[in-house]
Symmetry: C2
Subunit: 317 residues, 2 copies
């Protein structure tokens, strides 16, 4: 099969198109013909050095896919060849990434592709949309009528978080750099905050009459300490990255701080699907590039200025 191989850790220029053996599904596994693969910041991090995740070059990375089942392994009864599926593969110790024509994956973490989405749209969902779902719905448990501050609302995870929080009935305050404020508005943010010109904590306090927001989702991590005084007593904060700084005020305000790191499962994708089908949540696909242009996609990830997602088109079915 055709695959993008990373021969050693380093820059985007290292990716090579190679012909490699197509894997065969073992018990509980399926082989998916990848139609589209999303790209995510974690992939740039793994490309630089993936030893923390147990990866050893040469390796195929890529952790978002939408495609068609080509073959099922022994014991797989819930899917059959021809089924359209989407999913995010495991990262740790997994040599089977989605920057490839075919991908080997456990059947327990894949779900049926939302019918109304193209493969390019569906491939933009599992990792980023799943992370946003995990943070907003499961951990922060955002409820109708609450006010939520989302740091980095125009990014891959943030753009899903803004839409999910809105769909849940929350009032959404979201931050971005000056270039993405219009994107935030289109995603449905009630209050958009240019973090270069305004202090998000001050805006959050002003918008809540000094009480603080009910919940904060920080897609960058570094905003956690400054968010504590902008969160109401007994409020919740979630982060998908670590941070440094003084957070001692969190205990006197009875705040709960949730660390979020995506685990893989089918159920979360099934929970997201009705929102995707009802168009309450739309993946923000900025660009579709052919698989061979993976280096360009990674240069955009490296720049950190992405608005939504770059999706790789792997095969036309």
């Amino acid at each position: 099969m055709r695959a993008i191989v990373l021969p050693r850790f380093g820059g985007p220029e290292l990716f090579e198109v190679r012909d490699v053996p197509t894997p065969t599904p073992g018990p509980g596994q399926v082989l998916v013909r990848v139609i589209a693969s999303g790209t995510n910041p974690v992939e740039a991090k793994l490309r630089q050095n993936g030893t923390w995740a147990g990866l050893q070059p040469p390796v195929i990375i890529g952790y978002d896919a939408s495609g068609v089942i080509e073959q099922v392994g022994p014991g797989v009864t819930e899917f059959k060849p021809g089924d359209e599926v989407f999913y995010t593969p495991e990262i740790f110790h997994n040599p089977h990434g989605t920057y490839a024509e075919f991908n080997l994956v456990g059947a327990s973490i894949i779900a049926r592709k939302p019918p109304s989405l193209s493969h390019e749209e569906a491939a933009a969902v599992p990792l980023a949309g799943g992370t946003a779902w995990e943070a907003i719905v499961r951990r922060l448990q955002v409820r109708v009528g609450e006010t939520v501050l989302i740091h980095g609302g125009a990014g891959g995870v943030g753009s899903f978080a803004v839409q999910i929080a809105k769909a849940a009935g929350a009032r959404v305050l979201a931050t971005s750099g000056p270039d993405n404020l219009e994107t935030l508005r289109r995603l449905g943010a009630d209050v958009v905050i240019n973090y270069r010109g305004e202090d998000p904590a001050q805006v959050a306090l002003r918008e809540t009459g000094g009480q603080g927001v009910d919940a904060v989702f920080d897609t960058a991590g570094k905003n956690v300490p400054a968010s504590i005084p902008a969160t109401r007593p007994f409020g919740r904060i979630a982060t998908i990255l670590g941070f440094t700084g003084d957070i001692s005020a969190f205990y006197s305000r009875n705040i709960a701080l949730h660390g979020v790191f995506l685990t893989r499962e089918r159920r979360r994708l099934e929970e997201l699907t009705p929102l995707l089908e009802r168009k309450l949540v739309r993946p923000l696909v900025e660009q579709v590039l052919p698989l061979e242009k993976v280096a360009d996609a990674h240069r955009q990830l490296d720049s950190g200025h992405g608005r939504g997602k770059v999706v790789l088109s792997v095969a036309r079915k």
Copy 2:
């Protein structure tokens, strides 16, 4: 009335017995004849300097009481003179502490004294027992069958936490210095850890087959960073004090970190009462001193080596 007045912030020797005007209950308030007053570490902190809590000397401190209602203010219908009650008054901006013959308090935060407890026992419960209840039951939501690590299990809050977690059906690992290990055993801890000789995180991992405990309650705060690798993925950690140190691993383990600082309410005391009446939870009263010996009680608080509580006997009824 007779009261212990703190004329300025500083050492235990500053406390003075004085005769001061007895306050009169306003709307929604009651006047309580204090029979016993608990003592708590936060009182030593406020004695040293209470400006952070909005206190200005001369002031009467003390934040735990059991006693008898002397007089009710306008609008108070749920209590009448003669009722026995226990409670913990507000700390912030409250000049009415419980180191006094009478105490003025809002009716909404007092509850009926558990009938089977003496006033000295009841006065040891509200602040420390309430904090432990808040952490173990409401925030950590410890469930039957779980394993919980409690740092400082022989202290004021910790001794309640060990008993509450046991009563909830958890397996309890608890730490103390070498002098209090026998106390931990009497409180019901399943595994006692001498924190001077053993690493609690290592013991927690060993006792859970390397998985980590379901929940951690740190009554000292400083143990939070070291507890993260000893907590299972999606586990919970609660602390009643701030801390410094690297906690970035908390996000990759999907851990929830709860800051706990006691708010005042009647309901929590009512929730604790059945456990006290059934003797599933017993206040650990180390010593009862007459009110005039308050300086001795504070010297023990200052030493930080308390086992359970020193209670001040204010009046005999």
